[in-house]
């Protein structure tokens, strides 16, 4: 069961990192669009 939760934690962590990356990417694209 704890192995299961470990995998879940890893999955959530990866998703969080991907999300932060995309968030920042979109902000940069918005900056470019404004120019």
């Amino acid at each position: 069961m704890s192995a299961n939760l470990t995998v879940m934690a890893v999955a959530l962590l990866v998703w969080g990192l991907v999300f932060v990356y995309l968030w920042r990417l979109e902000r940069r694209i918005k900056d470019l669009e404004r120019k």
Partner: protein, 215 residues
């Protein structure tokens, strides 16, 4: 803004539900949980490649470079999701069938799809000139459109006779627990939204790039 955060919470909730709330299929045990990543990725792969083809045909008909951005972006993202679906499926196959790869019909068709779109992107990289690249890539995409139904529906049947499938048909049969189906559908909705977001970023980048070039 709100939508992005909602998407984050949506997918996170789906993962937590998949790992804690949904039951497991008796034979499969904890490998059931791969399903929540594998199934959305596979479906979104299909959606992405279909989207790419539609926009390739639209480009040939209308000659609007926006369609080319959609076609290229969807192909790139489709390849990405295809990799996720293949790897997750392969891990599951290792756990259940004992081998990462055994040319099961599903594995065969997804691998061929991967090859087609890898070739599509290789072709794009080799063509100079925006409009020429868009036109020739769209032509290739339309030819590939002939191959895809054959790869998905016909070839697996021929290979079936070559390699009798070891065991276990497809999941998603009606006798599956409704909670599993709910989480899978939930994840599918979330991953599709993620795909739309990613595609919009790619299309906007393409537009900026072209504006820069004209400038």
């Amino acid at each position: 803004m709100i939508l992005r955060i909602l998407l984050f919470l949506w997918l996170a909730a789906g993962m937590v539900a998949g790992f804690t709330w949904a039951p497991v299929v008796p034979v499969l045990g904890n490998t059931t949980r791969v399903f929540y990543f594998h199934f959305p990725a596979a479906i979104v792969t299909t959606i992405a490649f279909g989207w790419s083809m539609v926009h390739s045909a639209l480009y040939l008909a209308r000659r609007d470079l926006g369609h080319d951005d959609h076609a290229a972006g969807a192909a790139e993202l489709g390849l990405l999701f295809c990799i996720v679906a293949t790897i997750s499926g392969s891990l599951w196959a290792r756990a259940m069938w004992g081998a990462y790869w055994n040319w099961d019909p599903r594995e065969t068709s997804i691998f061929f799809l991967f090859l087609i779109y890898a070739a599509y992107l290789a072709l794009r990289a080799a063509i100079d000139g925006t409009e020429r690249r868009a036109r020739l890539a769209a032509i290739y995409s339309c030819v590939a459109f002939v191959a895809v139904p054959f790869l998905i529906f016909v070839v697996p049947r021929i290979y079936f006779s070559l390699h009798p499938d070891p065991l276990l048909g497809q999941r998603g049969k009606p006798d599956i627990d409704p909670r599993i189906m709910l989480v899978a559908t939930w994840m599918l909705a979330g991953v599709t939204a993620l795909f739309v977001w990613l595609l919009s970023l790619r299309v906007r980048l393409g537009r900026i790039e072209r504006a820069r070039q004209e400038f």
